[in-house]
Amino acid sequence: MPSEVLPLIIKALIVIGAVMTMAGYAVLMERKIAGWIQGRPGPNRTQIPILGSIPVIGTFLTRLGVFQPAADGLKFLFKEDALPGHVNKFYYVLAPMIAFVPAMATMTVLPFGQYTGADGVTVPIVLANLDIGILFILAVSSLGVYGIILGGWAANSKYPFLGGIRASAQMISYELAMALSILPVFMWFGGTLNLHAVVQGQYQVWTIFAQPVSALIFLVALFAETNRLPFDMPESETDLVAGYNTEYGAFKFGLFFVAEYTHIIIGSGVFVALFLGGWTLPFVPIPDGIAGAIISIGIFLAKVFALVFFFMWIRWTLPRFRYDQVMNLGWKKLLPLAIANLVVYAIIIALIENLG
């Protein structure tokens, strides 16, 4: 038994480390992109002693802000972890964990590469290859909102409370459209809910070209689910101070922060797997063995980062929707559109299957 569990634990730790690092660097990426879009250089001062003083490379890395996430992380770690007197202490401490754990848990079923062994069998590189992968992701990722609601409520302060309420309403509204928008995708690939099968099915044509409306609805819902602008209702810096995490500081805030960026990365990963062909490139076969595994992971990560860039690009382009506009868009536009989309594709798929 331990001999079976140990490699899994090591694999899980590697993936967790990679995703945490990516979340840290996504923060840097966000700050850099914000800077560039606003005509600023972005973070470019942080240096670590030996690495930063290498003549050309060190200067380049410093200008790029590569050491900034380490400084940010250390700051979160060493700041005084203040516990405000007016909060509900148990839930206040619990909330960041509840926000963080689902964000991390969703990545267990997200395949991010493939490995073809000597026997010619292609297996996905994933922590747990569930047949109901996408259901698991939808279910667990929406648990993350409990952390936000709980944090907003436990902070016992009006702005976090409003942020929490907005988060819950928004999450419920967009969850429906999100789930309905990806149903046609799985119908398209013969009714499987396994992400690996969906990626394999996109070898010739990416789903985004076959089902653009599904992709659009899913993308918009993804923005809402990850609380990104233009849907960052729970945070709303301009009207709710900092929303649900107003009363949080130090490492607890750091957990919320990392959870948010992990959500973005995982969400981008799901979008890439469902609509952008996952780790495949059209008409380019992936070689067998370890090389193929590394190439497929590289392709997947490149696509994910392109999408994360798109998230940030949108953030610094669009202003936030008003709360009622968010509700309008979710219930009156996206949900009917998603249902219509589902019906149309159900008919199309039925016709193809019966006529073809």
């Binding site: 992109i33 800077g35 560039w36 879009i37 005509g39 600023r40 250089p41 690009w313 610094w316 382009t317």
Partner: protein
């Protein structure tokens, strides 16, 4: 004036979907992103000071190293916030520039009062006080902000002189024409 009534057209489907507008916005931000930053990395890069900038008032010497101020106290008189305090002094008889007769014994500009109006520079008959290009004044105590004579000369340095008024006067005196 005739009023022109403009027809307000209903939004088209594309406009109502908001997507073309988003694409337009994305194009603008992408163009901005590819431009070089407009910021100045301040302590490393300094702004270019325009000609005629009114910075910190300073005292200057002429190219021969003579302090130009003759402590006439016009600047002290004209100074709107009363930032300047001059204690006049005499130049000793045996000095080379004894014919100038007066020089400030103490010259103090309180930079906490100074409003950088430049009236002292305007009023100075000896062209001895100039608002130059120093724009950043810092200090830890109030006393540090009361710039003393040494500090003012250190900041001012030497400026070129067009007239050499006192050298001409001395030469005229030596040629027997004390009134030019």
């Amino acid at each position: 004036m005739a009023t022109k009534v403009l027809e307000r057209k209903p939004l088209s489907l594309a406009e109502r979907s908001y997507l073309p507008q988003i694409v337009g916005g994305l194009k603008i931000t992408m163009r901005n992103m590819l431009k070089p930053p407009v910021t100045l990395e301040y302590p490393d890069e300094r702004p270019e000071i325009p000609v005629g900038y009114r910075g910190v008032p300073t005292l200057v010497r002429d190219p021969n190293g003579r302090e130009k101020c003759v402590s006439c106290q016009l600047c002290e008189f004209v100074c709107p916030p009363k930032a300047i305090r001059i204690t006049p002094g005499e130049i000793p008889e045996d000095a080379e520039t004894a014919h100038v007769e007066k020089a400030p014994k103490e010259f103090e500009i309180n930079m906490l009062r100074c409003i950088y109006c430049g009236l002292c520079q305007e009023v100075c008959p000896e062209e001895a006080i100039f608002l130059q290009d120093i724009y950043s004044v810092t200090g830890y105590t109030r006393e540090e902000f009361a710039f003393k004579k040494e500090k003012l000369y250190e900041l001012g340095g030497t400026l070129p002189d067009k007239h050499f008024k006192w050298d001409k006067k001395k030469a005229a005196e030596e040629h027997g024409n004390p009134h030019h």
